[in-house]
Amino acid sequence: MNKSVMLVGVGGQGTILTSKILAEGLLGAGYDVKMSEIHGMAQRGGSVTTHIKYGEKVNSPIINKGEADVLIAFEKVEALRYLCHLKAGGILIVSDHEIYSQSVLSGTEDYPQEIIESLTQAVERTIVLQAVKLAEQLGNIRTHNIVLLGVLVKALGLEQLDWVQVMKDLIPEKVLEANVKAFKTGLAV
C-alpha cells in the first residue's frame, strides 16, 4: 500500500527543505516516490503545501481529501486548513506555533483560539510539539523544521534509514551539526 504524507506551513518555514530530505531518504530506501509542491508567488508568508506519496508504484502525485496517512503542520492555522486531507485513523503532527496572516495583523479577523485543544479532541492520533521552542533551546531556532522531521520519521516508522547521510547531502556543512541534533531531538519526542 502506498503512503501519503502532506506537509503544510507558511512560506519561509522550511517545509520545502524538510520535504526534500524526506523524499531523498525514501528514494534511497528504494521506494517509488512522487512529490508535488504548490507554493504561492515570490512573496513570503503565503500558505505552502507539499504532497509526498511513496510505495511500490505511485500514480497521481496529488493527495486528496481524507487520504493523508500523516499530516504535518508547521503552523496551527495551516493544520486547520488542511485537516480535511487527513485519513480516518491517520496521524496529525502539529507544531504549536502561530504566524499571523494580514487579516489578523490588521485586526479584521481574530486568530482562532484553542486550536490545539480542538485538534487533540477530534483526532485520536495527534502529536503536538513545541518545535520552535525546542529548536530555540537547542541553540538554533531555524532548525525547528528538522525537529519536526524527526517526529515525522518516527511516526512513519522509518527510523532505520540513514537520515544523517541524507542531511549531509542537502544541508550546508556549517549548520549540519545543529540540524542533526534537532533531528535526534525530534526522534526522541
Binding site: E37, Q43, R44, E67, A88, Q102, S103
Partner: protein, 586 residues
C-alpha cells in the same frame, strides 16, 4: 542514472540530451524553471526574451538556421506567441523546433484557465502530452525528431502538476544533433500570400501523415485490464485515472494528442463496454471521440472547471460520496499572498490611496497585490500590457461621459519591456492624458526574480547592456517635464509626484526606482535595519497598520513591529503623525 526530477527539470534535461542548441522563453508559472534549468547547460545558448512572441521568433530563426531550438511559456504566453506559431506551421522547420506550453488548471498562479490543447488543431501543429517526469524527458527528445520528420513545430503541452511534481527519471547522455546546412528557400520560408497559399496544402498533407504516425506511435498505447470499462485519457489525468481504476479498467493512454489516432480510438472503443473520457478542463478528447460517432461519458460527469484529481474522478464516475474527514469548529483565517514587508511597491499605493476620484488600471506582477485590503487600489487587471492600454480606452470614454476620475495605469519593469512599450507609444500617439506609474524594482519579481532587459545581466549570468526604462519613456515622446523619477521609500517625494500626475492635463509618467526587497543583495545591504514603535508616544491611530505591511501588528492594543521581517523602509515611520516610530541602523 536515475534522478528525482520535476517535470520542468526533465524537459530541460531532455532538450539537453536531444542536442538542442538554443532555448528562449519569457518566465511564467508553471513553465519558468524549464529555462532556468536549461541555462545550467553551457552547450545551449539560452535567453530570457522580453516576451513570448520574441522568444518563439528567436527559436524559429535558430531552427531555420539549422539547429534544434526550444521556446517555453505559460499558457497565456502562447496567446502572445500565437502569431509566429501559426505561421511556423506553414514554413515548417529546419532543425527541430519544440514549443513548450504549460497550462495551469486550477489557476494556481494565472489569470485564466485556458486549455491550450485546443491550439494544436487550430495552429495545425503536432502535439505531445507527457504525464510524468520520465515522459517529459523521453517525449521532448522525441519531439525534436518528430519536428524534423514532419517539418513542423511540435507543441509540447504540460500542466502545473506535471511541471512541478518530482518523480524518478532515468537520464541519458547528450547526443549532438549539430547544425544542419541552411539552404535558401523563399518558397518555404518567405510567407507572402502567394507562397503561403502553396504551403497550406503541404500543411494538410503533413497532418495526414502525422495522423498515420499517431496510429502506430509508441506514445499512444493501450493497457488492457478489465474490458467492462475503457478509459481514454492523457497527461496528468492518466495518473488520476490509474489511481482510481487500477486494473479494473482498460486504458487508451494518449501521449500524442494531435493528430489523434482515429482508428486506434475506434478499435479500443469497440472492445470495451463503457467508455469514459477522463480529461482536465475542456472536452478536447471527448469532442474528437464523439465526432467519430462513438458514444462516451465525459464532461456530463467530470467538471470542466478547476484542477482534476482522483477524488473528483471517483465521485464523478463511481458515484462515491465525499470522504468523511475530521472536523473542528474553528475556521482557518485566510492567508492570501501580500506585498512583502519593505516592498518598494507599497508606498506608491499608500500615496495613491490619498487621491479621490481615480480609476486604477492595473497589470500583472507583484504589484497586482495592491488589490488586497487594506490597500484595495486596483480597478482592473486583465493581461500584461493592459495596465496602460486599457487605461487609454477608459480615459477616452470617461471624457465622453463627462466623468472626472483621473486614470492611473500601473505597470512593473519586466511587464513594461514585455508589452508596455507599445502601449506607451499608443498613450503618446492617442494624446492620452492618463497618468502612468512604472514600478521599477529591477527584476521580474513575481515569478522568482528573473533577469530582464533592464537588469544588466542575462539568463546565462553574463553582463548585458542595460535598457534604461526612463530613456525609453523619453524616446517614445513623453515630454521630459511630465516625467518624474522617485525613490518610493521617500513617501513625500512619491506623493508629490503622484499629485502632479493627478493634476496634469497631459500624459504623465512617474517611475519609482527601488529594487525588490527580497533580492539577496538588497537583503544583505539592509540587514540590521528595522523600525520599532514607542508605546508611550503611540496614539493607536492605526495609520501604520493601514499600509498593510505584514511586519506591523496590533497585539493586545499595542503596535508591534516584527524585527525579523522589517527591512527599515520607514514607510510606517513616515505615515505616523505622532513620531511614535523610530528607525534603527543606517
Amino acid at each position: 542514472m536515475k534522478k528525482f526530477l520535476t517535470g520542468n527539470e526533465a524537459i530541460a534535461r531532455g532538450a539537453y540530451e536531444a542536442g538542442c542548441l538554443l532555448a528562449a522563453a519569457y518566465p511564467g508559472t508553471p513553465s519558468t524553471e524549464i529555462l532556468e534549468n536549461i541555462s545550467q547547460y553551457s552547450e545551449i545558448y539560452s535567453e530570457w526574451s522580453p516576451n513570448e512572441k520574441v522568444a518563439l521568433e528567436v527559436a524559429s530563426g535558430a531552427s531555420i538556421a539549422g539547429s534544434r531550438a526550444l521556446a517555453a511559456m505559460k499558457h497565456v504566453g502562447l496567446n502572445v506567441a500565437s502569431d509566429p506559431m501559426f505561421t511556423m506551421a506553414y514554413t515548417g522547420v529546419n532543425g527541430g523546433l519544440v514549443v513548450v506550453n504549460a497550462d495551469d488548471p486550477g489557476l494556481h498562479s494565472s489569470q485564466n484557465e485556458q486549455d491550450n490543447r485546443l491550439v494544436a488543431p487550430h495552429a495545425k501543429v503536432l502535439m505531445l502530452e507527457p504525464s510524468d517526469g520520465q515522459e517529459c524527458l523521453d517525449f521532448v527528445k522525441a519531439a525534436f525528431a518528430l519536428s524534423e520528420e514532419f517539418d513542423s513545430p511540435v507543441l509540447f503541452r504540460v500542466t502545473t502538476r506535471v511541471c512541478h511534481s518530482k518523480s524518478i527519471v532515468e537520464i541519458g547522455e547528450r547526443v549532438e544533433a549539430g547544425i544542419k546546412p541552411y539552404v535558401k528557400d523563399p518558397a518555404k520560408y518567405v510567407m507572402s500570400p502567394g507562397n503561403a497559399l502553396k504551403r497550406h496544402p503541404v500543411v494538410e498533407e503533413k497532418l495526414l501523415r502525422a495522423k498515420d504516425y499517431s496510429e502506430t506511435c509508441p506514445f499512444n498505447r493501450i493497457e488492457w485490464g478489465n474490458r467492462k470499462i475503457g478509459i481514454i485519457t492523457s497527461g496528468i489525468s492518466y495518473q488520476h485515472a490509474k489511481e482510481v481504476f487500477g486494473e479494473q479498467a482498460s486504458y487508451l493512454k494518449l501521449g500524442m494528442t494531435y493528430p489523434l489516432p482515429e482508428q486506434k480510438i475506434r478499435d479500443f472503443a469497440a472492445q470495451v463496454d463503457t467508455l469514459y473520457i477522463i480529461e482536465e478542463n475542456d472536452p478536447y478528447l471527448e469532442q474528437q471521440v464523439r465526432s467519430l460517432g462513438i458514444s462516451c461519458i465525459g464532461k456530463e460527469r467530470i467538471p470542466i472547471c478547476g484542477e482534476l484529481n482522483a477524488e473528483i474522478v471517483r465521485r464523478a464516475l463511481l458515484g462515491e460520496t465525499e470522504p468523511k474527514t475530521y472536523q473542528v469548529s474553528q475556521k482557518p483565517t485566510a492567508r492570501p499572498p501580500v506585498l512583502c514587508a519593505g516592498c518598494p511597491h507599497r508606498p506608491l499605493y499608500v500615496a495613491l490611496k490619498k487621491l479621490k476620484d481615480i480609476v486604477v488600471t492595473g497589470d500583472i506582477g507583484c504589484y497586482t497585490l495592491g488589490m488586497v485590503p487594506p490597500l484595495s487600489m486596483l480597478d482592473t487587471v486583465i493581461c500584461m500590457g493592459a495596465g496602460i492600454s486599457s487605461g487609454i480606452g477608459f480615459e477616452k470614454v470617461n471624457r465622453m461621459a463627462g466623468r472626472k476620475e483621473k486614470i492611473f495605469g500601473i505597470m512593473g519593469d519586466s511587464t513594461f519591456f514585455h508589452s508596455g512599450i507599445t502601449s506607451l507609444i499608443d498613450a503618446v500617439y492617442s494624446n492620452s492624458n492618463m497618468a502612468i506609474i512604472l514600478l521599477d524594482n529591477s527584476t521580474t519579481a513575481m515569478t522568482g526574480h528573473q533577469e530582464n532587459p533592464g537588469t544588466g545581466v542575462n539568463l546565462m549570468g553574463q553582463p548585458a547592456p542595460v535598457i534604461d526604462l526612463v530613456n525609453v519613456v523619453k524616446a517614445v515622446g513623453v515630454k521630459p517635464e511630465n516625467i518624474r523619477i522617485v525613490d518610493p521609500y521617500d513617501l513625500a517625494e512619491t506623493e508629490k509626484a503622484v499629485q502632479e500626475a493627478y493634476a496634469s492635463q497631459e500624459l504623465f509618467v512617474v517611475v519609482t526606482k527601488q529594487p525588490c526587497a527580497l533580492m539577496k543583495d538588497v537583503q544583505k545591504k539592509r540587514e540590521g535595519l528595522y523600525c520599532y514603535s514607542d508605546a508611550e508616544k503611540c496614539k493607536k491611530c492605526k495609520a501604520c497598520l493601514r499600509t498593510g505591511c505584514p511586519a506591523i501588528a496590533m497585539k493586545n492594543g499595542t503596535i508591534h513591529i516584527d524585527k525579523a521581517q522589517c527591512n527599515g523602509c520607514t514607510l510606517c515611520q513616515q505615515v505616523c503623525k505622532f513620531d511614535a516610530i523610530a528607525k534603527v541602523g543606517e
